[in-house]
């Protein structure tokens, strides 16, 4: 008979952030149905309040021991980092939706509901060692994202973006599920820890550690790895699965683009780091599995180099700032992968630090884009001409974000890139460091171009309409970008303590 035991209650306690988020999203849905489009501000405030409550619960649970709820959901500091990251990113995206001048839809309630739904997907995706739950979380995130990309139903570009997104997304989800099925066939389990042969982790039924599978059928293991990494590559827009990114980023509403570029990408990295980390590097992993991990690292190194080069070269010849930022976000995925290649705790720390840096600078850059799109109705470089003098605070903040995106001091982006280079240097992956440096120089060209149009071109006749909340937000983000660039200790300590998956090596 089913009875509620202490174990269940403990599971519910561990899952309280997720439960809060689910409840709030349902409340929003009901409010939207009852209010018929009249209580938009109230819905937005409820969403923000729900996110704040979730974040509070996450912070309160920060120092708890790692635990597993219902045998599926791993509650640990690593997941906590990405869940807090998601809460922060979602709050900013909701703020963007509220301050989007071009947003005239009366179905905003659904917008927030889909955003929070995607957030719930992220929570489960980054917080599990079980491949079934990982796939389900990823799909919940993806399905919400498809609908969000096509949110402007009457706009051709939005509809096209959604279509391209679901075609690529569906394909890569299928490919990933197929890879998972092979891995299940080889090892007899879906639990990453059991696969890795970690002592004490026991699966149901007859299980084989990956170590045996690697020696018995290397071809099948390689196929499974390639297919699963392919699925992850799509989520974090890594070449050769990045083709959807520019089109979808350009066609989707700007707040949705922000969500895809920041929250969705970080979630993909969270799941990827956990997959690689738990499978190949957790304490007690068998030698053969760890050695196999190093080979996977070689593959990731090539992906990283190709991705950053493709992203930067394509960004050079864009006329639309939004599309340029899309390619820039592809390039940044390549930079973050450098941390994965190092295959040790320092590398994973660096990847997470860079993600934290990416949060500040990319949210800032997209906020700038949203503001100027609201003023001029265009997204081209030309439309920015001379606007630096019309909206000085916002433009100067943008210059700070651009400096940080390029990776120049004194900015958090510089610090993040430096940490990545250190991690790779320790492992002697020098060719990748050189590639990263060359790419940073390339990226300088297109980032400077924005500043040039803002400050050195003849102003157009457009007048900037002030938007105090957005200005305040951007100035605050720029301030944080500089502050954490000069004093990164808090970020560094947070990311380093969050990496509790791995054995110290």
């Amino acid at each position: 008979m089913f009875a509620l035991t202490d174990l269940h209650l403990e599971g519910f306690r561990l899952l309280s952030p997720e439960i809060t988020l689910v409840t709030v999203s349902l409340v929003i849905l009901v409010m939207d149905l009852l209010g018929r489009g009249r209580n938009m501000t109230a819905i937005a405030l409820v969403s923000l309040g729900g996110l704040a409550l979730t974040a509070f619960q996450l912070v309160a649970a920060f120092n708890d021991q790692p635990a597993t709820a219902f045998g599926l959901v791993a509650v640990d500091k690593f997941g906590n980092f990405f869940k807090l990251f998601t809460c922060g990113a979602l709050a900013v995206v909701i703020f963007f939706v509220m301050s989007d001048r071009r947003e005239k839809s009366t179905h905003i309630g659904e917008y927030y509901f889909l955003l929070l739904g995607a957030g719930i997907g992220i929570f489960f995706m980054v917080g599990t060692n079980n491949l079934l739950l990982l796939v389900l979380g990823l799909e919940l995130l993806s399905l919400s994202s498809y609908s969000l990309a096509g949110f402007h139903k009457g706009e051709k570009r939005s509809a096209e973006a959604a279509m391209k997104y679901i075609v690529f997304g569906g394909l890569s989800a299928g490919v990933m599920v197929y890879g998972v099925s092979l891995l299940y066939g080889l090892t007899g389990t879906l639990n990453l820890k059991v696969m890795a042969g970690v002592a004490g982790a026991v699966g149901e039924g007859h299980t084989v550690s990956l170590a045996a599978a690697v020696t018995d059928s290397p071809g099948a293991v390689a196929a499974a790895m390639v297919l699963i990494l392919g699925g992850f590559s799509y989520k974090i827009s890594v070449a050769p699965f990045h083709f959807w990114a520019p089109d979808v980023y350009e066609g989707a509403p700007t707040p949705v683009t922000t969500f895809l570029a920041v929250a969705s990408k970080a979630a993909g990295f969270g799941a990827l780091l956990r997959f690689i980390g738990v499978l190949f590097m957790s304490p007690g992993t068998q030698e053969a599995v760890a050695a196999y991990g190093l080979q996977v690292g070689q593959l990731v190194a090539v992906l990283a180099a190709v991705t950053m080069t493709i992203g930067n070269l394509a960004a050079l010849r864009q006329e639309s700032v939004k599309r340029m930022l899309a390619y820039s976000s592809v390039a940044h995925a390549g930079y973050i992968l450098v941390g994965v290649v190092a295959m040790d705790k320092a590398g994973f720390d660096a990847a997470m630090l860079y993600l934290a840096a990416y949060y500040f600078m990319n949210l800032g850059a997209f906020g700038f884009l949203l503001y100027f799109h609201g003023v001029t109705g265009k997204e081209t470089f030309e439309s920015l001409n001379g606007m630096g003098y019309r909206a000085p605070l916002i433009s100067i903040s943008m210059v700070v974000f651009l400096i940080s995106l390029t990776g120049l001091p004194p900015s958090v982006g510089f610090y993040g890139k430096m940490t990545l280079i250190y991690a790779a240097w320790d492992k002697g992956i020098n060719w990748l460091i050189i590639c990263l440096l060359i790419n940073s120089v390339i990226s300088l060209f297109y980032y400077v171009r924005v500043a040039k149009h803002l400050f050195l071109m003849k102003p157009s006749e457009e007048t900037a309409q002030p938007q105090p909340a957005m200005t305040g937000f951007l100035v605050a983000m720029a301030g944080l970008t500089v502050v954490f660039g000069l004093w990164a200790t808090p970020l560094l300590e947070w990311t380093s303590s969050s990496m509790d998956l791995l054995a110290a090596r």
Partner: protein
Amino acid sequence: MIPVGAYVAVSVALFALGVICIVSRRNIIYVLMGIEMILNSASINFAAFGRYNGDGLEGRIFVIFIIILAAAEAAVALAIVLNVFHLFHTIKPSEVDLLRE
């Protein structure tokens, strides 16, 4: 008992057909069918491996979830395709190309 290799052979064939269906890209409905075929090929794998894995239920549970996933994905995909058809009056991916370099 049928050897597990036979099931894998069928699923690999179905997977390959699905990929071909997507890559040829004549019509968006073909593409969606291709995605379904890939998901179903994974289902075959999970069911077969679950059967040969003894007591473990994980594989068979995964099959049920894949069916749900496929249904949810088809619902969202068809809504999006319907919207594209309203706006573009075509569902050929090659003719829906406002967003490009």
